[in-house]
Homo-oligomer: 226 residues x 2
Protein backbone atom coordinates (compact mmCIF):
# COMPACT_ATOMS: atom_id res chain seq x y z
CA UNK A 1 0.00 0.00 0.00
CA UNK A 2 1.65 3.20 -1.12
CA UNK A 3 1.15 6.48 0.63
CA UNK A 4 -1.00 9.00 -1.20
CA UNK A 5 1.17 11.79 0.16
CA UNK A 6 4.92 11.13 0.53
CA UNK A 7 5.21 13.86 3.17
CA UNK A 8 2.93 11.81 5.40
CA UNK A 9 5.23 8.78 5.15
CA UNK A 10 6.70 7.34 8.36
CA UNK A 11 10.41 6.47 8.36
CA UNK A 12 11.49 2.88 7.63
CA UNK A 13 13.46 1.32 10.47
CA UNK A 14 14.65 -2.21 11.17
CA UNK A 15 11.57 -2.65 13.32
CA UNK A 16 8.99 -1.18 10.97
CA UNK A 17 10.25 -2.74 7.73
CA UNK A 18 7.47 -5.11 6.69
CA UNK A 19 8.91 -8.55 6.22
CA UNK A 20 5.77 -10.60 5.66
CA UNK A 21 2.62 -9.88 3.66
CA UNK A 22 4.24 -6.71 2.34
CA UNK A 23 1.19 -5.87 0.27
CA UNK A 24 -0.72 -5.33 3.53
CA UNK A 25 1.89 -3.04 5.07
CA UNK A 26 2.03 0.73 5.07
CA UNK A 27 3.99 3.57 6.62
CA UNK A 28 1.33 6.20 5.91
CA UNK A 29 0.80 8.58 8.83
CA UNK A 30 -2.80 9.28 7.82
CA UNK A 31 -3.61 5.57 8.00
CA UNK A 32 -1.84 5.40 11.36
CA UNK A 33 -3.90 8.34 12.64
CA UNK A 34 -7.13 6.76 11.37
CA UNK A 35 -6.43 3.42 13.09
CA UNK A 36 -5.41 5.05 16.37
CA UNK A 37 -8.40 7.41 16.19
CA UNK A 38 -10.86 4.55 15.70
CA UNK A 39 -9.97 2.82 18.99
CA UNK A 40 -9.11 3.45 22.62
CA UNK A 41 -7.63 0.11 23.82
CA UNK A 42 -4.10 -0.91 22.88
CA UNK A 43 -2.06 -3.97 23.73
CA UNK A 44 1.18 -2.85 25.38
CA UNK A 45 4.08 -5.28 25.19
CA UNK A 46 6.71 -4.68 27.84
CA UNK A 47 9.25 -6.72 29.76
CA UNK A 48 8.62 -6.31 33.50
CA UNK A 49 11.29 -7.79 35.77
CA UNK A 50 12.34 -10.23 33.06
CA UNK A 51 8.81 -11.30 32.12
CA UNK A 52 7.36 -10.31 28.77
CA UNK A 53 3.78 -9.11 29.32
CA UNK A 54 1.10 -7.99 26.88
CA UNK A 55 -1.25 -5.68 28.76
CA UNK A 56 -4.52 -4.29 27.42
CA UNK A 57 -4.78 -0.63 28.37
CA UNK A 58 -6.46 2.65 27.43
CA UNK A 59 -4.56 5.11 25.23
CA UNK A 60 -4.98 8.53 23.70
CA UNK A 61 -3.22 10.00 20.68
CA UNK A 62 -2.62 13.65 19.79
CA UNK A 63 -1.16 12.73 16.38
CA UNK A 64 2.48 12.81 17.42
CA UNK A 65 2.40 11.18 20.87
CA UNK A 66 0.57 8.23 22.37
CA UNK A 67 -0.38 8.62 26.03
CA UNK A 68 -1.20 5.73 28.32
CA UNK A 69 -1.38 4.91 32.00
CA UNK A 70 1.92 3.62 33.23
CA UNK A 71 1.18 1.80 36.47
CA UNK A 72 2.50 -1.55 35.24
CA UNK A 73 4.93 -0.38 32.60
CA UNK A 74 6.50 2.28 34.81
CA UNK A 75 7.84 -0.38 37.20
CA UNK A 76 9.79 -1.77 34.28
CA UNK A 77 10.78 1.67 33.03
CA UNK A 78 12.18 2.67 36.37
CA UNK A 79 14.14 -0.59 36.51
CA UNK A 80 15.54 -0.22 33.00
CA UNK A 81 15.01 3.24 31.54
CA UNK A 82 16.03 2.15 28.03
CA UNK A 83 13.41 -0.58 27.80
CA UNK A 84 11.56 -0.45 24.52
CA UNK A 85 7.92 -1.36 24.19
CA UNK A 86 5.63 -2.31 21.34
CA UNK A 87 2.10 -0.95 21.40
CA UNK A 88 -0.40 -2.54 19.04
CA UNK A 89 -3.92 -1.34 18.20
CA UNK A 90 -6.10 -3.74 16.20
CA UNK A 91 -9.59 -3.48 14.73
CA UNK A 92 -11.04 -6.77 13.52
CA UNK A 93 -13.37 -6.17 10.57
CA UNK A 94 -14.45 -9.67 9.58
CA UNK A 95 -13.69 -13.27 8.77
CA UNK A 96 -12.41 -13.94 5.25
CA UNK A 97 -14.01 -17.23 4.21
CA UNK A 98 -12.29 -18.71 1.18
CA UNK A 99 -12.97 -21.89 -0.79
CA UNK A 100 -9.95 -23.53 0.80
CA UNK A 101 -9.09 -23.55 4.51
CA UNK A 102 -5.54 -22.52 3.57
CA UNK A 103 -6.74 -19.17 2.16
CA UNK A 104 -8.91 -18.27 5.17
CA UNK A 105 -8.01 -15.05 6.90
CA UNK A 106 -9.19 -11.96 8.70
CA UNK A 107 -9.94 -8.44 7.55
CA UNK A 108 -8.34 -6.05 10.00
CA UNK A 109 -6.64 -2.69 10.56
CA UNK A 110 -3.64 -2.74 12.84
CA UNK A 111 -0.97 -0.30 13.99
CA UNK A 112 2.28 -1.16 15.78
CA UNK A 113 4.26 1.55 17.56
CA UNK A 114 7.81 0.99 18.81
CA UNK A 115 9.81 3.07 21.20
CA UNK A 116 10.90 3.87 24.71
CA UNK A 117 8.11 5.49 26.71
CA UNK A 118 8.85 8.58 28.74
CA UNK A 119 7.34 9.05 32.20
CA UNK A 120 5.50 12.39 32.09
CA UNK A 121 6.44 14.49 35.12
CA UNK A 122 5.73 18.06 34.02
CA UNK A 123 2.34 18.96 35.61
CA UNK A 124 1.09 20.86 32.55
CA UNK A 125 1.97 18.05 30.15
CA UNK A 126 0.47 15.53 32.54
CA UNK A 127 -2.82 17.39 32.65
CA UNK A 128 -2.81 17.73 28.84
CA UNK A 129 -2.00 14.02 28.48
CA UNK A 130 -4.80 12.97 30.84
CA UNK A 131 -7.17 15.22 28.90
CA UNK A 132 -6.01 13.55 25.66
CA UNK A 133 -6.64 10.08 27.16
CA UNK A 134 -10.12 11.04 28.36
CA UNK A 135 -11.22 12.89 25.23
CA UNK A 136 -9.85 10.20 22.94
CA UNK A 137 -12.18 7.55 24.39
CA UNK A 138 -15.09 9.86 25.20
CA UNK A 139 -15.11 13.25 23.44
CA UNK A 140 -16.85 15.84 25.63
CA UNK A 141 -16.24 14.04 28.91
CA UNK A 142 -13.28 16.16 30.09
CA UNK A 143 -15.49 19.26 30.22
CA UNK A 144 -18.40 17.32 31.76
CA UNK A 145 -16.94 15.18 34.56
CA UNK A 146 -15.00 16.44 37.58
CA UNK A 147 -11.41 16.94 36.50
CA UNK A 148 -8.59 15.27 38.43
CA UNK A 149 -7.38 17.01 41.59
CA UNK A 150 -3.72 17.70 42.22
CA UNK A 151 -3.61 14.61 44.46
CA UNK A 152 -5.24 12.42 41.81
CA UNK A 153 -2.85 13.71 39.15
CA UNK A 154 0.09 12.88 41.40
CA UNK A 155 -1.30 9.36 41.94
CA UNK A 156 -1.47 8.69 38.19
CA UNK A 157 1.56 7.46 36.27
CA UNK A 158 1.32 8.73 32.70
CA UNK A 159 3.57 7.53 29.90
CA UNK A 160 4.24 9.25 26.57
CA UNK A 161 5.41 7.34 23.50
CA UNK A 162 6.47 9.08 20.29
CA UNK A 163 4.60 8.03 17.16
CA UNK A 164 7.73 8.41 15.03
CA UNK A 165 8.42 4.68 14.71
CA UNK A 166 5.26 2.93 13.69
CA UNK A 167 3.78 0.83 10.95
CA UNK A 168 0.36 -0.15 9.77
CA UNK A 169 -1.15 -3.32 8.35
CA UNK A 170 -4.55 -3.50 6.71
CA UNK A 171 -6.41 -6.29 4.96
CA UNK A 172 -9.72 -5.61 3.27
CA UNK A 173 -11.99 -7.27 0.76
CA UNK A 174 -12.80 -10.69 -0.57
CA UNK A 175 -10.81 -13.94 -0.31
CA UNK A 176 -7.90 -14.49 -2.66
CA UNK A 177 -8.87 -17.81 -4.23
CA UNK A 178 -11.61 -16.57 -6.59
CA UNK A 179 -9.41 -17.24 -9.63
CA UNK A 180 -7.84 -20.47 -8.40
CA UNK A 181 -8.80 -24.05 -9.23
CA UNK A 182 -10.79 -24.05 -5.99
CA UNK A 183 -13.27 -21.61 -7.54
CA UNK A 184 -14.72 -24.58 -9.47
CA UNK A 185 -15.71 -26.35 -6.25
CA UNK A 186 -19.02 -24.48 -6.16
CA UNK A 187 -18.47 -23.38 -2.54
CA UNK A 188 -19.67 -20.10 -1.09
CA UNK A 189 -16.87 -17.63 -0.38
CA UNK A 190 -16.86 -14.11 0.97
CA UNK A 191 -16.63 -12.10 4.17
CA UNK A 192 -18.55 -12.35 7.44
CA UNK A 193 -18.17 -8.78 8.73
CA UNK A 194 -17.71 -7.96 12.38
CA UNK A 195 -19.32 -4.71 13.55
CA UNK A 196 -18.61 -2.82 16.76
CA UNK A 197 -21.37 -0.45 17.84
CA UNK A 198 -22.19 1.54 20.96
CA UNK A 199 -25.18 0.16 22.89
CA UNK A 200 -27.88 1.84 24.97
CA UNK A 201 -26.55 3.78 27.97
CA UNK A 202 -26.73 1.89 31.29
CA UNK A 203 -27.19 4.39 34.15
CA UNK A 204 -25.38 3.73 37.42
CA UNK A 205 -27.96 2.19 39.83
CA UNK A 206 -26.77 4.78 42.39
CA UNK A 207 -27.84 7.63 40.09
CA UNK A 208 -30.64 9.81 41.54
CA UNK A 209 -33.78 10.09 39.44
CA UNK A 210 -33.93 12.97 37.01
CA UNK A 211 -30.22 13.09 36.07
CA UNK A 212 -30.22 12.97 32.28
CA UNK A 213 -27.32 11.73 30.19
CA UNK A 214 -25.50 14.53 28.35
CA UNK A 215 -25.74 14.87 24.55
CA UNK A 216 -22.09 13.91 23.94
CA UNK A 217 -22.98 10.43 25.28
CA UNK A 218 -26.54 9.94 23.98
CA UNK A 219 -25.49 10.82 20.43
CA UNK A 220 -23.10 7.85 20.33
CA UNK A 221 -25.77 5.23 21.09
CA UNK A 222 -26.16 2.97 18.04
CA UNK A 223 -23.21 4.53 16.22
CA UNK A 224 -20.29 2.47 14.86
CA UNK A 225 -17.54 2.18 17.49
CA UNK A 226 -14.56 1.80 15.18
CA UNK B 1 -13.02 -13.05 42.14
CA UNK B 2 -13.01 -16.49 43.71
CA UNK B 3 -13.45 -19.65 41.72
CA UNK B 4 -16.79 -21.38 42.09
CA UNK B 5 -15.04 -24.73 41.78
CA UNK B 6 -11.55 -25.08 43.34
CA UNK B 7 -10.74 -27.96 40.99
CA UNK B 8 -11.01 -25.57 38.06
CA UNK B 9 -8.42 -23.23 39.60
CA UNK B 10 -5.26 -22.46 37.61
CA UNK B 11 -1.95 -22.58 39.48
CA UNK B 12 -0.47 -19.35 40.89
CA UNK B 13 2.96 -18.55 39.47
CA UNK B 14 5.20 -15.51 39.69
CA UNK B 15 3.79 -14.43 36.35
CA UNK B 16 0.10 -15.02 37.04
CA UNK B 17 -0.03 -13.64 40.59
CA UNK B 18 -2.21 -10.56 40.30
CA UNK B 19 -0.37 -7.58 41.65
CA UNK B 20 -2.73 -4.76 40.77
CA UNK B 21 -6.51 -4.52 40.94
CA UNK B 22 -6.62 -7.90 42.64
CA UNK B 23 -10.39 -7.78 42.89
CA UNK B 24 -10.52 -8.02 39.07
CA UNK B 25 -8.18 -11.00 38.84
CA UNK B 26 -9.06 -14.67 38.65
CA UNK B 27 -7.40 -18.01 38.07
CA UNK B 28 -10.64 -19.81 37.21
CA UNK B 29 -10.29 -22.16 34.24
CA UNK B 30 -13.96 -21.83 33.32
CA UNK B 31 -13.58 -18.06 33.03
CA UNK B 32 -10.42 -18.58 30.97
CA UNK B 33 -12.28 -20.98 28.65
CA UNK B 34 -15.18 -18.53 28.30
CA UNK B 35 -12.89 -15.63 27.36
CA UNK B 36 -10.87 -17.68 24.88
CA UNK B 37 -14.08 -19.17 23.44
CA UNK B 38 -15.62 -15.75 22.86
CA UNK B 39 -12.83 -14.53 20.54
CA UNK B 40 -10.52 -15.60 17.77
CA UNK B 41 -7.85 -12.86 17.67
CA UNK B 42 -5.08 -12.72 20.27
CA UNK B 43 -2.15 -10.36 20.73
CA UNK B 44 1.05 -12.40 20.78
CA UNK B 45 4.01 -10.80 22.53
CA UNK B 46 7.34 -12.23 21.47
CA UNK B 47 10.93 -11.06 21.18
CA UNK B 48 12.11 -11.54 17.59
CA UNK B 49 15.82 -10.97 17.03
CA UNK B 50 16.00 -8.70 20.06
CA UNK B 51 12.88 -6.69 19.22
CA UNK B 52 9.78 -7.04 21.35
CA UNK B 53 6.76 -7.31 19.05
CA UNK B 54 3.04 -7.52 19.79
CA UNK B 55 1.39 -9.27 16.85
CA UNK B 56 -2.36 -9.68 16.34
CA UNK B 57 -3.04 -13.20 15.13
CA UNK B 58 -5.75 -15.86 14.92
CA UNK B 59 -5.88 -18.57 17.59
CA UNK B 60 -7.86 -21.66 18.48
CA UNK B 61 -8.23 -23.32 21.87
CA UNK B 62 -9.13 -26.92 22.69
CA UNK B 63 -9.33 -26.18 26.42
CA UNK B 64 -5.80 -27.26 27.29
CA UNK B 65 -3.76 -25.93 24.35
CA UNK B 66 -3.79 -22.71 22.37
CA UNK B 67 -2.91 -23.10 18.69
CA UNK B 68 -1.74 -20.25 16.48
CA UNK B 69 0.14 -19.67 13.25
CA UNK B 70 3.82 -19.39 13.86
CA UNK B 71 5.25 -17.64 10.81
CA UNK B 72 6.64 -14.69 12.76
CA UNK B 73 7.07 -16.25 16.18
CA UNK B 74 8.75 -19.39 14.86
CA UNK B 75 11.70 -17.33 13.59
CA UNK B 76 12.29 -16.27 17.17
CA UNK B 77 11.61 -19.75 18.53
CA UNK B 78 14.16 -21.31 16.23
CA UNK B 79 16.71 -18.71 17.27
CA UNK B 80 16.06 -19.17 21.00
CA UNK B 81 14.02 -22.28 21.77
CA UNK B 82 13.44 -21.26 25.38
CA UNK B 83 11.84 -17.93 24.49
CA UNK B 84 8.67 -17.33 26.43
CA UNK B 85 5.71 -15.48 25.01
CA UNK B 86 2.66 -13.78 26.44
CA UNK B 87 -0.61 -14.18 24.58
CA UNK B 88 -3.44 -11.84 25.52
CA UNK B 89 -7.09 -12.03 24.45
CA UNK B 90 -9.26 -9.03 25.30
CA UNK B 91 -12.95 -8.27 24.86
CA UNK B 92 -13.91 -4.64 25.45
CA UNK B 93 -17.45 -4.41 26.83
CA UNK B 94 -17.92 -0.70 27.43
CA UNK B 95 -16.75 2.64 28.75
CA UNK B 96 -17.21 3.21 32.48
CA UNK B 97 -18.21 6.86 32.82
CA UNK B 98 -17.85 8.03 36.40
CA UNK B 99 -18.55 11.40 38.03
CA UNK B 100 -14.84 12.09 38.21
CA UNK B 101 -12.31 11.63 35.41
CA UNK B 102 -10.07 9.79 37.89
CA UNK B 103 -12.62 6.95 38.29
CA UNK B 104 -13.20 6.45 34.57
CA UNK B 105 -12.45 3.00 33.26
CA UNK B 106 -13.36 0.22 30.91
CA UNK B 107 -15.45 -2.92 31.30
CA UNK B 108 -13.55 -5.80 29.78
CA UNK B 109 -12.72 -9.49 29.89
CA UNK B 110 -9.09 -10.37 29.36
CA UNK B 111 -6.94 -13.50 29.49
CA UNK B 112 -3.14 -13.65 29.57
CA UNK B 113 -1.34 -16.89 28.80
CA UNK B 114 2.40 -17.35 29.48
CA UNK B 115 4.68 -20.06 28.23
CA UNK B 116 7.09 -21.36 25.65
CA UNK B 117 5.31 -22.35 22.43
CA UNK B 118 6.14 -25.64 20.80
CA UNK B 119 6.43 -25.94 17.03
CA UNK B 120 3.97 -28.66 16.01
CA UNK B 121 5.69 -31.15 13.68
CA UNK B 122 3.63 -34.34 14.05
CA UNK B 123 1.35 -34.42 10.96
CA UNK B 124 -1.70 -35.71 12.88
CA UNK B 125 -1.40 -33.07 15.60
CA UNK B 126 -0.81 -30.42 12.95
CA UNK B 127 -4.01 -31.37 11.13
CA UNK B 128 -5.94 -31.43 14.44
CA UNK B 129 -4.47 -28.03 15.39
CA UNK B 130 -5.39 -26.46 12.05
CA UNK B 131 -8.89 -27.88 12.43
CA UNK B 132 -9.07 -26.35 15.92
CA UNK B 133 -7.96 -22.95 14.55
CA UNK B 134 -10.54 -23.06 11.74
CA UNK B 135 -13.44 -24.34 13.82
CA UNK B 136 -12.71 -21.94 16.67
CA UNK B 137 -13.27 -18.89 14.43
CA UNK B 138 -15.91 -20.41 12.16
CA UNK B 139 -17.64 -23.55 13.44
CA UNK B 140 -18.72 -25.74 10.53
CA UNK B 141 -16.16 -24.39 8.09
CA UNK B 142 -13.66 -27.27 8.35
CA UNK B 143 -16.24 -29.70 6.95
CA UNK B 144 -17.42 -27.19 4.33
CA UNK B 145 -14.28 -25.70 2.75
CA UNK B 146 -11.51 -27.62 0.98
CA UNK B 147 -9.18 -28.95 3.64
CA UNK B 148 -5.46 -28.24 3.44
CA UNK B 149 -3.38 -30.43 1.15
CA UNK B 150 -0.19 -32.10 2.32
CA UNK B 151 1.79 -29.32 0.64
CA UNK B 152 -0.28 -26.59 2.31
CA UNK B 153 0.08 -28.26 5.71
CA UNK B 154 3.85 -28.39 5.22
CA UNK B 155 3.87 -24.67 4.32
CA UNK B 156 2.07 -23.72 7.55
CA UNK B 157 3.98 -23.18 10.77
CA UNK B 158 1.73 -24.10 13.68
CA UNK B 159 2.55 -23.33 17.30
CA UNK B 160 1.05 -24.93 20.42
CA UNK B 161 1.03 -23.18 23.79
CA UNK B 162 -0.10 -24.91 26.98
CA UNK B 163 -2.91 -23.19 28.87
CA UNK B 164 -1.43 -24.22 32.22
CA UNK B 165 -0.04 -20.79 33.09
CA UNK B 166 -2.73 -18.21 32.57
CA UNK B 167 -4.74 -15.62 34.38
CA UNK B 168 -7.92 -13.70 33.79
CA UNK B 169 -9.06 -10.17 34.53
CA UNK B 170 -12.64 -9.02 34.30
CA UNK B 171 -14.34 -5.72 35.11
CA UNK B 172 -18.11 -5.40 34.94
CA UNK B 173 -20.78 -3.04 36.16
CA UNK B 174 -21.21 0.56 37.14
CA UNK B 175 -18.55 3.15 38.09
CA UNK B 176 -17.14 3.08 41.62
CA UNK B 177 -17.87 6.65 42.72
CA UNK B 178 -21.62 6.32 43.35
CA UNK B 179 -21.10 6.61 47.11
CA UNK B 180 -18.34 9.22 47.04
CA UNK B 181 -18.61 12.97 47.55
CA UNK B 182 -18.69 13.28 43.77
CA UNK B 183 -22.17 11.67 43.75
CA UNK B 184 -23.53 15.04 44.91
CA UNK B 185 -22.34 16.79 41.76
CA UNK B 186 -25.54 15.83 39.92
CA UNK B 187 -23.61 14.39 36.97
CA UNK B 188 -24.76 11.44 34.91
CA UNK B 189 -22.72 8.28 35.46
CA UNK B 190 -22.97 4.79 34.06
CA UNK B 191 -21.74 2.60 31.24
CA UNK B 192 -21.68 3.11 27.48
CA UNK B 193 -21.67 -0.51 26.29
CA UNK B 194 -19.72 -1.69 23.28
CA UNK B 195 -21.33 -4.48 21.25
CA UNK B 196 -19.66 -6.71 18.67
CA UNK B 197 -22.05 -8.34 16.22
CA UNK B 198 -21.73 -10.26 12.96
CA UNK B 199 -22.93 -8.30 9.94
CA UNK B 200 -24.60 -9.35 6.69
CA UNK B 201 -22.54 -11.78 4.59
CA UNK B 202 -20.58 -10.15 1.74
CA UNK B 203 -20.25 -12.61 -1.16
CA UNK B 204 -16.96 -12.68 -3.08
CA UNK B 205 -17.54 -10.69 -6.33
CA UNK B 206 -15.98 -13.69 -8.15
CA UNK B 207 -18.73 -16.01 -6.87
CA UNK B 208 -20.92 -17.46 -9.65
CA UNK B 209 -24.65 -16.78 -9.38
CA UNK B 210 -26.70 -19.32 -7.50
CA UNK B 211 -24.11 -20.37 -4.91
CA UNK B 212 -25.90 -19.97 -1.60
CA UNK B 213 -24.16 -19.38 1.73
CA UNK B 214 -24.28 -22.43 4.04
CA UNK B 215 -26.41 -22.43 7.20
CA UNK B 216 -23.41 -22.41 9.57
CA UNK B 217 -22.61 -18.93 8.21
CA UNK B 218 -26.10 -17.45 7.64
CA UNK B 219 -27.15 -18.31 11.20
CA UNK B 220 -24.44 -16.06 12.63
CA UNK B 221 -25.62 -12.89 10.87
CA UNK B 222 -26.85 -10.41 13.48
CA UNK B 223 -25.67 -12.56 16.40
CA UNK B 224 -23.34 -11.25 19.14
CA UNK B 225 -19.71 -11.86 18.20
CA UNK B 226 -18.24 -12.11 21.70
Amino acid sequence: MDSANPERELPVTDRTRHRRFREQGSLDRDQLDAILGAGFICHLGVTVEGTLMVIPTVYGSDGSTLYFHGSVASRSLLASPDATVCVTVTHVDGLVLARSVFEHGVNYRSAMVYGTPRLVTDPDEKLAGLRCLTEHATPGQWDYARRPSRKEIAATALLALSLNEASVKIRTGAPDDGDSEDARLGLWAGVLPLRATWGALEPDPALPEGVEAPAHLTKRVGAPAN
